[in-house]
């Protein structure tokens, strides 16, 4: 049984009313989808050369350096992330409405 904090998160994600076993299923699908969007969006902001640099840093597995890279090359990346999340939620809602109609 999720604790209070987890319940808050589930509520925020809109899946707190689902049976427990379904929550995990939906959560995983949603998270995978949103991560793809975000990564695509962020990488899309970079030039070909920068993408190469990113890949090199990524190979080293240093997330602090990735953070620096993002801050230097995509200063508003936090905003982009939020935009994608909002857009994802909107699209999800539209799709769900269409399927349940």
């Amino acid at each position: 049984m999720p604790n209070l904090i987890q319940q808050d998160v589930l509520k925020e994600l809109g899946i707190n009313q689902l049976p427990a076993e379904r929550q995990e299923e939906v959560l995983a699908a949603m998270t995978e989808a949103v991560i793809k969007r975000i990564i695509l969006r962020l990488v899309g902001e970079l030039s070909e050369e920068k993408r190469g640099q990113l890949e090199e840093i990524a190979d080293a597995g240093d997330s602090a350096k990735i953070s620096e890279f993002l801050a230097a090359n995509i200063p508003d990346h936090e905003t982009l992330v939020k935009e994608e999340v909002v857009s994802f939620k909107k699209d999800m809602q539209a799709t769900v409405d269409g399927l349940l109609a």
Binding site: V9, E12, E25, M30, R51, D59, S63, V96
Partner: protein, 877 residues
């Protein structure tokens, strides 16, 4: 571990064994019989039917005769002899059981047979005979059935018997087990088919969607181009017909028409694909529901009625449908992104994106559910512990970083953090725990309550914090007048109030520095006006707090605020009502930020005030919780994005240990004391520490009998009553209960004009300004600012009207508008909303207080000088 059998009496045990063995022996014997039956076909003595001579062929001796021989019975008495007759007939039975001593079987001699021709044949082959059948058929009554049939029957029965004996089962046949296995396999296959159908439907849906989007884009593009071409030719002076240059009309029409037709077709395909997907989802749902129904039957929910079971299944079905739809929507989105990655020319980056997302998915799948929630919550900005930045950088960095992140989540540090957050959630529980008993706890000055409160918030036990803590908690409890009076008593104030309208949320604040020497509890009514009939006589002493961020116009504010903050207890206070223009629904609400942050405060506010929610766009039908959540999020994000976008803000937040997002910003503001969120009627949000240093608001000059009597060298003693106008003042009418121009002649004669002015100002400051202003960081920061500078930067419109302050402040973020050049205490050192609010209050005080208005020379004073000179008596009373 099997239990030890209890000790038995040996005698009893032997009896039991005997009985058991006896049963077993019976079974064995039966099995032996059966096995005999089975075995017999194989024994040479029992010849298979096929080997039996055809019935038509006559043997020397008939079967019957042979049987009889075997039994020792003379065949002579039988039917006429056959072709082969035995000349030597067995004689009467001997002592060997019916067989004569001369019986060939007994003597061992080969029988002699006589052929029809009289030839005697010795030995030879015995006629083929089914001895068993013969024996049986002749000697026993077998219902006339053919021996072979009976043997077959016996064999089958025996086989069954033996099988059951061997397997130890007496109920299930092997075929039943096979059936079960087959059924399960069928079901599994069916599920796979349904899943596969769902996956196909999903693919088709996404493909159709892409085609639709593309077709619509094409149509739109063509239309735009056509329009541009038309405009181009229309502008030409020679007005050359566009047909001259453009393709023949019919072709053009065909092109556009063609594109439109294609778009239409694509749309139809999309609708079809959508329907198909719906069908697939329902099929999936139905198969899941069928399994639930099956389980329900198997479990045999005897404790529940049929109806209850049906209801439960229905509920599960709905849940499955929703979950499936959500999951499908997410998978569709994922698929769309995959296709996008394919389509867009990303070069090597495509591999990178695919790789990283795959690594993440693999890692994520193996996380325990509670950590999945943390990760997903952080990405969705749902206030989880781990910031989205940490997750994203780990995803982009790949496996190694993800492993570290996973490790970090399980370290003691994070676990502790989680635990501490869980403990803080105990605060919520505490509220619930004390709900109902809160009144009693307050009344009895319950130390246990205090201890718990301070323990939770790691209290600084200053009176102010105590007030705010209680205010915060009380705000969550449905306020009643009784509570208000008890709170008053707790703080030593007097008075009592009648029960207010239920459902009204009250926020209480105590003012210990009442000039009259008594505490007055101010109750902030966040939304609903207090109707006069709800307040009895006692209610008149129940002083509603003025909205500290509500500047209002004099006609609106003057009365309400003065009545709220009046320092004169003996003045008759009239609660603001809708009639007298008191605080009503449409005002800037100041909401306490609780554990759920800014959005949580706003959500609760909407939920508690559905009328206000409607004003903000709730249709009255949708789930208000859901609506409020979305709305609060929108409002908050909209208000905070400007702040977050400021250069350096993200770094500053990070530096101070906060995440550079809306959540982190709110936490940072709380840390510096801005624990309230103000919401105006237009949905503008500002964070505030909810302090106000300017009490009973500056009475209007007119209320005091005219400008002439204002301080400008003349001695004007403003009696207490005048500064706490009666209800009439609330409507803006210039009636004053007290007489102006009352002065003390003696004092007048002793003081010169300048001294008198100073004295008046001092009195005004002492009366109307909270001593806390001396320690306030905003005014400390503004120490060197002159009053004229302040007035220059804060125009009157900044505090006029209901939302004047909020409106003005938010207008400052518009392009081209200059920010006030006043010092601030925000994270970046700039002026914050809270700073500006305090400056606005000061500006209003300076402009409108009769004691200060038109006083020359004040403008050049710095804030520090002003407060030092005229505020020296602050805090002394």
């Amino acid at each position: 571990m099997p239990e030890k059998p209890e000790k038995l009496d040996p005698l009893k045990l032997s009896e039991q064994l005997e009985a058991k063995l006896g049963a077993e022996m019976d079974m064995e014997l039966s099995a032996v019989e059966a096995s005999k039956v089975i075995a017999q076909p194989e024994e040479p003595a029992v010849l298979p039917v096929a080997e039996t001579e055809p019935a038509g062929k006559r043997e020397i001796l008939t079967q019957e005769e042979i049987d009889e021989l075997l039994r020792g019975v003379a065949p002579a008495d039988k039917a006429p002899a056959d072709e082969l007759s035995d000349v030597r007939r067995p004689e009467s039975p001997s002592i060997l059981g019916g067989r004569r001593a001369t019986d060939p079987i007994i003597t061992g001699e080969p029988p002699v047979f006589q052929r029809p021709g009289g030839e005697l044949v010795s030995g030879g082959r015995r006629p083929a005979a089914d001895l068993d059948a013969g024996l049986n058929s002749a000697s026993s009554s077998l219902n006339g059935k053919a021996p072979f049939t009976e043997r077959e029957e016996k064999t089958e029965v025996a086989e069954k018997f033996i099988v059951s004996e061997k397997s130890g089962t007496t109920e299930k046949l092997p075929i039943e087990l096979i059936e079960v296995a087959e059924e399960s396999e069928k079901e599994s296959k069916k599920s796979e088919e349904i899943e596969a159908a769902l996956a196909r439907a999903r693919e088709e849906y996404v493909t159709a969607w892409q085609a639709t989007a593309k077709a619509e884009k094409e149509t739109s593009k063509l239309s735009v181009i056509r329009e541009k071409i038309r405009n181009f030719f229309n502008k030409r002076e020679d007005k050359i017909s566009e047909e001259f240059f453009v393709r023949p009309p019919e072709r053009k029409e065909k092109t556009v028409g063609g594109a439109q037709a294609e778009a239409q077709e694509a749309k139809e395909r999309f609708v079809k694909a959508q329907e198909s997907l719906k069908v697939s989802i329902r099929a999936y749902r139905d198969s899941e529901v069928a399994q639930i129904e099956k389980k329900a039957r198997e479990v045999k929910l005897v404790e529940k009625t049929e109806e209850e079971i049906k209801e439960e299944i229905e509920k599960q079905a709905k849940g499955i449908l929703l979950a499936t739809t959500l999951r499908e929507a997410a998978k569709i989105d994922s698929l769309k992104t995959d296709k996008k990655i394919e389509v867009e020319s990303m070069g090597k980056a495509r591999r990178y994106v695919n790789e990283k997302t795959e690594e993440f998915t693999d890692w994520y799948k193996n996380l325990p559910f509670k950590y999945k929630i943390l990760i997903s919550g952080s990405l969705a900005g749902a206030g989880a512990i781990t910031g989205s930045a940490a997750v994203l950088t780990a995803v982009m960095a790949g496996q190694m970083a993800l492993r570290s992140l996973g490790g970090a989540m399980t370290t003691a540090g994070v676990e502790k953090l989680v635990k501490s957050l869980q403990e803080k959630s105990a605060e919520k529980k505490l509220t619930k725990e004390f709900e109902g008993k809160f009144l009693e706890a307050l009344k009895n000055q319950n130390d246990a309550l205090d201890d718990k409160l301070f323990e939770i918030v790691k209290g600084q036990q200053s009176a102010k914090n105590k007030r705010f803590i209680i205010a915060g908690l009380a705000g969550g409890i449905v306020g009643t007048g009784i509570l208000a009076s008890l709170v008053k008593e707790a703080f030593g104030a007097s008075g009592g109030v009648k029960t207010l309208k239920s459902g009204q949320t009250m926020v209480f604040r105590a003012h210990p520095d009442n000039i009259a020497g008594k505490d007055i509890i101010d109750v902030q009514q966040p939304s609903q006006p207090i109707r006069p009939e709800e307040l009895g006589e006692a209610g008149k002493s129940f002083l509603p707090e003025s909205d500290i961020s509500e500047p209002g116009g004099p006609e609106e504010l003057g009365g309400a605020e003065t009545s709220a903050e009046s320092p004169a207890p003996e003045a008759s206070m009239e609660a603001p009502t809708a009639e007298n223009g008191g605080r009503a629904v449409e005002s800037v609400e100041s909401l306490v930020i609780g554990k759920r942050g800014v959005e949580g405060a706003i959500i609760d506010y909407f939920k508690d005030n559905p009328d206000v929610a409607k004003k903000f766009g709730w249709d009255g039908e949708a789930d208000i919780k859901k609506w409020a959540g979305t709305k609060a999020h929108q409002l908050w994000l909209a208000s905070v994005e400007t702040e977050l976008a400021k250069p350096g803000m993200a770094e500053k937040l990070t530096e101070q240990g906060f995440t550079p997002d809306a959540e982190g910003y709110a936490k940072a503001m709380r840390k510096i004391g801005q624990g309230f969120v103000e919401l105006d009627g237009q949905g503008r949000i500002s964070l505030s520490d909810n302090t106000s240093f300017f009490k009973a608001e500056t009475p209007l000059l007119e209320e005091l009998g005219g400008a002439e009597s204002a301080v400008s060298g003349s001695a004007v003693e403003v009696p207490p009553e005048a500064s706490a106008p009666a209800g009439e003042a609330l409507t803006g009418e210039a009636t004053v209960s007290a007489e102006p121009n009352i002065s003390t002649p003696k004092i007048e004669s002793l003081l010169n004009a300048e001294d008198l002015t100073d004295q008046k100002i001092k009195e005004a400051v002492t009366r109307f300004v909270d001593p806390a202003v001396l320690k306030d960081k905003t005014f400390k920061a503004a120490a060197k600012i002159t009053l004229s500078q302040l007035l220059e930067e804060v125009p009157p419109e900044a505090y006029k009207g209901k939302y004047g302050l909020s409106q003005y402040w938010h207008s400052l973020s518009e392009p081209g508008v200059k920010t006030p050049k006043l010092p601030g205490t925000s994270l970046l050192g700039e002026i914050s909303y809270d700073d500006f609010r305090k400056y606005a209050e000061m500006a209003k005080f300076l402009r409108e207080n009769p004691a200060l208005k038109n006083v020359t020379g004040l403008g050049k004073m710095t804030m520090e000088e002003f407060l030092h000179l005229y505020g020296e008596d602050l805090g002394r009373k």
